[in-house]
Symmetry: C2
Subunit: 378 residues, 2 copies
């Protein structure tokens, strides 16, 4: 990032910006054009509300956590007529519950691919199929800020009209960039949507992007870092960004499963056992223990950042991420640290050293053997 002192109205910047936008298409896995903002991910979420709706428009929000509630708050801020399909924290929303509320006049359905406040994965594919069947005119908007690079998503095949990503998750650079891929029919819908927008005006940014420019001063250093991260993913994939992204997804899935099995091995409860995401695993603190103790011990003793629960979940659970750079070594180390923390604070001790790590090792060995068999078979 430190090398990125190029000015933004130059051919150098235009070449960089055009390449990053093209590489993001490959990373997201879509033919739709990508638009980028200097903002955190919420900025692109706001764009997906202010550009696609008019006050009074009927929208459906599928929510099972804090980020789903952000869709609700955004739709409320823009005066949408909101219908809510929600599940308890830790659960996903059953597709039947969505079907029951879905009518053809719903302008947009908003949801997450993975709800990182609870560690749940939503069934985006089933939602997409439902929309095609029951409300083919409804636009489908997916916040995949933690979903991209951790979850298989067939954006164009399933028909996702707007899919949203950020910079700090699977693409592994500091926060401050948001981007989204927008379908042809979403561009058309925008022409009649009447909510006010300026900084997050998708069409204005799209027009600038087609010339290799941003509508407003871009976060140049972050864009250069994003370019480098996408180049790294391309190299991982042997010259193919999509292949590199698939390796990231595979890695996240293995690390997540290792973590889940380790938690169970340590007699801990998963917060979202039924539909766990590969982006983040939420684990309940042991009975009678505040999860803040665990989060602080991770930080102070092991220099590891583990997240606490958000809002009313604070103190009840802790969350371990599997995005981007997190790999086998990090995962094993984190699980071993968790064993140390439990041993130090849990009275009486419910577990012994090794119960978590062993469970994780077993997962890895199984996956690894299957990979070798696959490679030998192929």
């Amino acid at each position: 990032m430190a090398a990125a002192d190029i000015h933004h109205r130059t051919a150098d910047f235009r070449a960089l910006y055009s390449r990053v936008l093209a590489d993001l298409k490959a990373f997201i896995g879509t033919k739709n054009d990508v638009v980028m903002f200097a903002a955190s991910g919420t900025g692109a979420m706001e764009a997906a509300v202010s550009n696609l709706t008019s006050p009074g428009d009927k929208v459906l929000v599928v929510t099972a956590g804090k980020f789903g509630e952000r869709w609700q708050a955004l739709a409320k801020a823009y005066g949408c007529n909101i219908d809510l399909v929600s599940a308890e924290y830790g659960e996903t929303v059953p597709i039947e519950a969505i079907e029951a509320k879905l009518t053809p006049d719903v302008r947009v359905l908003y949801t997450q691919a993975t709800e990182s406040s609870t560690g749940v994965r939503h069934d985006i594919q089933a939602m997409a199929a439902l929309l095609k069947r029951k409300a083919p005119e409804t636009l489908f908007v997916v916040d995949a800020i933690t979903g991209l690079g951790t979850t298989d998503i067939d954006v164009d095949g399933w028909g996702i009209d707007v899919i949203i990503g950020g910079s700090q998750k699977a693409v592994m650079i500091p926060p401050g960039l948001a981007y989204c891929a927008v379908s042809a029919r979403a561009w058309t819908h925008m022409e009649t949507a009447k909510s006010p927008r300026f900084y997050f005006d998708l069409r204005k940014e799209h027009k600038a992007g087609s010339k290799g420019e941003s509508a407003f001063t871009p976060a140049i250093a972050l864009i250069a870092a994003l370019g480098a991260a996408l180049e790294f993913i391309r190299k991982m994939g042997g010259g193919d960004i999509a292949a590199g992204r698939n390796l990231l997804i595979e890695n996240a899935e293995v690390c997540a499963e290792m973590t889940r099995e380790a938690a169970l091995g340590l007699k801990l409860q998963l917060f979202a056992p039924k539909a766990p995401s590969a982006a983040v695993t939420a684990i309940l603190a042991p009975e009678g223990m505040d999860s803040t103790v665990i989060v602080k011990a991770f930080r102070h003793e092991f220099g590891a950042v583990i997240s606490n629960g958000q809002g009313e979940m604070q103190g009840k659970l802790f969350r371990m991420a599997h995005l981007g750079y997190f790999d086998y070594l990090d995962t094993i180390g984190t699980i071993a640290a968790l064993e140390q923390i439990l041993a130090a604070v849990q009275r009486p001790r419910h577990t012994e050293f090794g119960w978590g790590v062993r469970a994780a090792q077993t997962v890895y060995a199984r996956v690894s053997a299957a990979r070798r068999a696959g490679a030998a078979g192929g």
Copy 2:
């Protein structure tokens, strides 16, 4: 910036963020609270429209260039009832013209401290006095993205309700952060303003900031860089950020005057001779020459980034900045490069080597002698 890998929901980040917000108050020179966004400067401009107005509200936009026109576009996007006081590019708006259009029912007056598309400085102090006299209820919003650190502005003394800055100008870090200081009565006005806002919701961000947090994922790397830049300014000022900022202003003023005199020495015309800003100097290309030629020669031959005119001014003028890191050495070097470029492309040559540099040297020697006399007198 590379060192900034701290997580944003930690005590370390809260300490950093609180310090940066406090230091920004000192830098801006206000007792009003400062709010920051992960966005380019336009994001904070949008906040000053969406948070302070309701559709149909009467606002006055004082404009004399591309950034003034941005206020107009923003106010239009939010359905304001806009009255415009404008001047030709290169001119500033006479205070009498503003007085003629100012009525007490104007909710907000929007303008720039310095209009960097033309190099003009507006008389913010006179506008503030006019508002106090003729429309005391009207809020005064000043885009000082290029004005802060280049221009004396007494935010609280004059009564500026919202003053806006960015990260890439006088505070000398990469773009991607916008901030503004908000007066007590502006906070009150916000309670009744009805335009939609979410990501740029000032009150939400203010509440989070008071706890050392940001409402949405912050651009951590940029915030750490901003913290370091403000520390640098504090050291410049012998432990006092305001004193450091005053040195930056003094530096910009000297460099700007050196540049203006050099341009005149080289028989070039200033685009904004009557009310030049110290942030940027706009110089007309010589008769019959496209300014793009000059901008490209600066870039390719001297590795210097000089800006072209924006929009319809492209090709007609070029702009030299005096913000932040630009100092005596840069200014002299840039002027000497301009002499080389003119010598290479201007036929017949109107000037000789040294005419620009000598004029700049004369300015510097005069200022420097006055400083020495001042120091000896004090």
